[in-house]
């Protein structure tokens, strides 16, 4: 007797359809799973056996073969338990369900037959919709998340015992409410008002947010670099609905949806010991890295000089292309990662800076440390802000401007950019041609030309200055780049070494 059920396996942040074929026939009792299962799928045998027995079904003492098709795709995770159990019951004649082939099932089983949530429910629901499935049966906890995908009937199931009732149409579960996507930072999120004094650092943050420019902060420990970076999401424009769905998809695949949906744009600050695979994604099976988790948000690299060089190098291509491409012998995987890069560094290994007489660093040590600031990654950074220890008067002074007020200006600047460049695009993404296209007043052009001639700027540095000047002008609401805007942009820009 043969039965099939449909389910999905997670591949990066996408779900791939899998067909579970179960054959039960006479022979020496046994239970084999074939079709490239990983260890967690293979262990489904024990979970399914116990769950069936504990829900009052009979485990057939016959030869059972489970085939997961397509056989070439590696199946990962415990999410196929439910589909295997349903197909097995159907094949053994204990479950009369002619509609089984039209629905998809995903979920992990506990030994008592209750269901447990799986990662990537949103991706599974979207894939089920693409695959032409009528309804998707999921653990109840995954329901609200899966309901984010429109156009698919999501049926929450709390235990294997209810399956027979569901199949017979005797039980009609309530459809889950969809999670509400939060586009703006929640009330109580870190606010820029906490950054007191430091007018230039605030301004640099605002320009970075307004133009989507990457930024590097250098200053002594405790000067407020991390504080400033963590406030950046709060002044970025609210997510568009489609962007919020992208963020949710990544978070769902990483199994941390609730945490993200509370926070609007994601803010990721990986520790500096992170491996290249941890940063951009990879491993077997390939999993999303920090860069993908920061998609549409902020990736903050604190202590930039302490990061492994290979990890930083790996970040280069994703920064430019907006997606990570992981190629392995088993196949290729593309993950989205359009994030704003913010980095911070101490001036030298001891953190005091050479101007401090107590700095204990050797010249070679300092040189090696700062050498990492000039690597290939630093080349992708637009803004350099020197952060100094705020004075006692500043720390004790008035709180700074609130994030909400800054965000109004940032949004207005972004709106101007979208009018000029097209929806969703910002100044940092301008091509060299676009950067040179915009109107620049003659005195501003003369300022840039003067610098270009005297400092022998590279073409890339020239364009970077133009992009920044355009953002400064957008923030001011000016159509053309004036001399003042150009001078500010020239100050903000990161210089080539």
């Amino acid at each position: 007797m043969l039965a099939t059920a449909r389910t999905f396996t997670l591949d990066g942040i996408f779900a791939r359809p899998v067909r579970v074929e179960v054959d039960v026939h006479r022979g020496l009792p046994g239970f084999a799973i074939v079709g490239l299962p990983d260890a967690a799928v293979r262990e489904a045998r024990e979970r399914v056996r116990a769950a069936l027995v504990n829900c009052g079904f009979e485990f057939p003492l016959q030869r059972i073969v489970v085939n997961l098709a397509p056989a070439s795709l590696r199946k990962v995770g415990p999410g196929m338990d439910l589909a295997i159990a349903a197909a097995l019951l159907s094949a053994a004649g204990q479950l009369e369900w002619e509609g089984l082939a039209r629905v998809a099932l995903a979920g992990e089983l506990a030994l008592d037959g209750s269901t447990r949530p799986v990662p990537g429910a949103l991706a599974i629901a979207e894939a089920a919709r693409e695959d032409g499935v009528e309804a998707l049966i999921l653990p109840a906890e995954n329901g609200p998340e899966a309901a984010l995908a429109s156009g698919i009937d999501v049926i929450p199931l709390d235990g294997l015992g209810r399956l027979a009732a569901l199949a017979a149409g005797e039980w009609e579960p309530r459809r889950p409410e969809s999670l509400s996507l939060r586009l703006e930072p929640p009330p109580g999120a870190p606010d820029l008002a906490d950054l007191r004094g430091q007018p230039h650092l605030r301004y640099a943050l605002e320009v970075a947010a307004a133009g989507g420019h990457s930024m590097l902060m250098i200053g002594p420990p405790g000067a407020g670099k991390s504080l400033a970076a963590s406030r950046l999401p709060s002044i970025l424009p609210p997510l568009a609905a489609a962007e919020a769905l992208e963020v949710a998809r990544v978070a769902s695949a990483c199994g941390r949806l609730d945490a993200v949906l509370c926070g609007g744009r994601p803010f990721r600050a990986p520790h500096h010991t992170v491996s290249p695979a941890g940063l951009v994604g990879g491993g077997v099976p390939p999993r999303p890295g920090e860069a993908t988790m920061a998609h549409r948000g902020v990736l903050f690299l604190d202590e930039l000089c302490e990061f492994r060089r290979d990890a930083l190098e790996a970040l280069r291509a994703p920064l430019e292309g907006g997606e990570v491409s992981i190629s392995r012998a088993a196949g290729r995987l593309s993950l989205p990662c359009r994030f704003m890069l913010v980095a911070a560094s101490n001036p030298c290994p001891c953190g005091r800076g050479e101007a401090d007489p107590d700095c204990t660093c050797t010249p070679l040590g300092v040189q090696r440390y700062q050498g990492r600031l000039s690597g290939a990654l630093a080349d992708r950074i637009d803004i350099l802000a020197a952060v100094r220890q705020p004075s006692a008067a500043e720390i004790g002074g008035e709180p700074g401007e609130r994030s909400a007020d800054v965000r109004v200006r940032v949004c207005e600047a972004r709106r101007r950019q979208e009018l000029r460049l097209g929806p969703g695009r910002c100044n940092a993404e301008m091509t060299p041609a676009e950067a040179r296209e915009g109107a620049v007043e003659p005195p501003a052009a003369a300022l840039l030309a003067d610098l270009y001639a005297r400092r022998r700027l590279s073409g890339r540095a020239h364009d970077r200055a133009l992009r920044l000047a355009r953002t400064v002008a957008d923030l001011r609401g000016a159509e053309t780049v004036g001399e003042e805007e150009m001078a500010q942009a020239l100050q903000l820009r990161r210089r080539d070494q």
Binding site: G197, Q198, P199, H200, L201, R202, Y203, A204, I218, G219, P347, G353, E354, A355, P357, T362, P363, L364, Q367, Q370, L373, S374, L384, A385, A386, V387, R388, P390, S391, E394, L447, D450, L451, R454, V472, E484, A487, Q488, L490, Q491, L492, R495, Q497
Partner: protein, 379 residues
């Protein structure tokens, strides 16, 4: 072999053999050197070769002398030519005159680069700039400006290719004119390796000198030894930054012993990096604030004037410049000092940098250059 000799200066084989002997004696002299900063082990270098070997390596003296003695003239010339080097010795006309003042002067100088620069190393047209490897941005900026302006005024700038002040002086001098690096290893060896490109530029447009043969690796004792050559070469030795027990002060001592002028760049009294030059100043060294001070000391006051005044500054720029001069290095600091919004301070600093009044470090902080603001612009 004859081609190499015709092209460059000549050295007699005996003097050359002394260089090769020093290379062989490297490890033995290293053992004799106490490693104490300030030790004057190169005094041994006054001794004639036989005595030097007997003192430094008594057990293998005969063997070493025989090995060096066996080096034929042709072999020495080939070794020089293979490394792209040439040599001059104390018996030749090309040998820099001022080196003869030193009792422990090198017998031969191996050079890589422009041999005509040897002739330009005249006793009143050469300045040695030395300083700490661990230099502050202040010291670096001063060394670079000194190098650039002295070289621009036709002075040959001598330094030691070390990290910090030495490298900055060389880089500045390469921008403005010619420079000579005196090395503690063979002249064809780039040490420290991080300065390979600087060494290459110097060897191409200036001159790398050493008393050690091509390929010789550095020892601890070779650095004080090369210091004595630097001290003797310069009509004036300028210490830019040095801690109290620094090798740069040995160079200054040696220069003073030879009766050379001594200059020092004043620094903050609480800065360890400036403790050495401040002490020299207290002891009567010339105050060196800029290249003009060096020229005045060497050639007599007013003999040569450097024009180094920047364009006039309007009010917001003058105030921002004053704030940087008062010690504010960051844009935030300037904005706070002037009480203006961050963007205004940023624009002012960008303009000042463009005009050449400020430099911008890789860390994003500003410091003042030596460019003077014209009178009447509020500074």
């Amino acid at each position: 072999m004859s081609a190499g000799i015709e092209r460059g200066p000549r050295a007699c084989p005996d003097c050359l053999r002394r260089s090769w002997l020093l290379e062989l004696l490297g490890p033995y002299l290293e053992r004799l050197a106490t490693g104490e900063p300030g030790s004057r082990s190169p005094e041994l270098l006054r001794l004639p070769s036989e005595e030097l070997v007997a003192v430094a390596a008594p057990k293998v003296a005969g063997h070493l002398v025989a090995r060096v003695g066996a080096l034929s003239e042709g072999h020495l010339a080939e070794a020089l030519e293979a490394a792209g080097c040439w040599a001059c010795c104390r018996h030749g006309d090309e040998y820099p005159e001022q080196l003869r003042d030193a009792a422990d002067a090198p017998w031969a100088l191996i050079g890589r680069g422009d041999p005509h620069l040897l002739a330009a190393l005249d006793p009143c047209g050469t300045v040695t700039v030395v300083g700490a490897r661990r230099a502050t941005s202040y010291g670096r900026e001063v060394a670079r400006a000194l190098g650039r302006e002295l070289a621009g005024a036709g002075i040959v700038v001598v330094s030691g290719l070390a990290f910090g002040i030495d490298a900055c002086a060389h880089r500045g001098a390469l921008d403005g004119g010619r420079t000579v690096a005196v090395l503690g290893c063979g002249p064809d060896v780039a040490y420290p390796a991080a300065h390979r490109s600087l060494w290459r530029r110097i060897a191409e447009t200036g001159l790398a000198l050493s008393e050690l043969p091509p390929g010789a690796s550095p020892w601890r004792w070779t650095f004080p030894a090369r210091n004595r050559i630097m001290a003797a070469l310069g009509a004036m030795t300028v210490v830019v930054e040095a801690a109290t027990r620094s090798g740069s002060l040995i160079t200054a001592d040696l220069a003073a012993d030879l009766g050379r002028d001594l200059g020092a760049v004043p620094g903050p009294v609480n800065s360890r990096a400036s403790a050495g030059p401040n002490a020299l100043l207290a002891g009567g060294a010339c105050v060196v604030r800029d290249a003009q001070d060096v020229l005045d000391a060497m050639l007599g006051a007013g003999a040569e004037r450097l024009e180094r005044s920047g364009p006039a500054l309007a009010e917001p720029l003058a105030a921002a410049l004053a704030a940087v001069e008062a010690g504010e290095g960051t844009c935030d600091g300037v904005a706070a000092a002037l009480g203006v919004p961050g963007p205004d301070a940023a624009a002012a600093l960008a303009r000042l940098e463009l005009l050449g009044y400020l430099t911008y470090s890789p860390l994003g902080t500003y410091s003042r250059t030596l460019l003077a603001a014209p009178k009447g612009s509020g500074i």
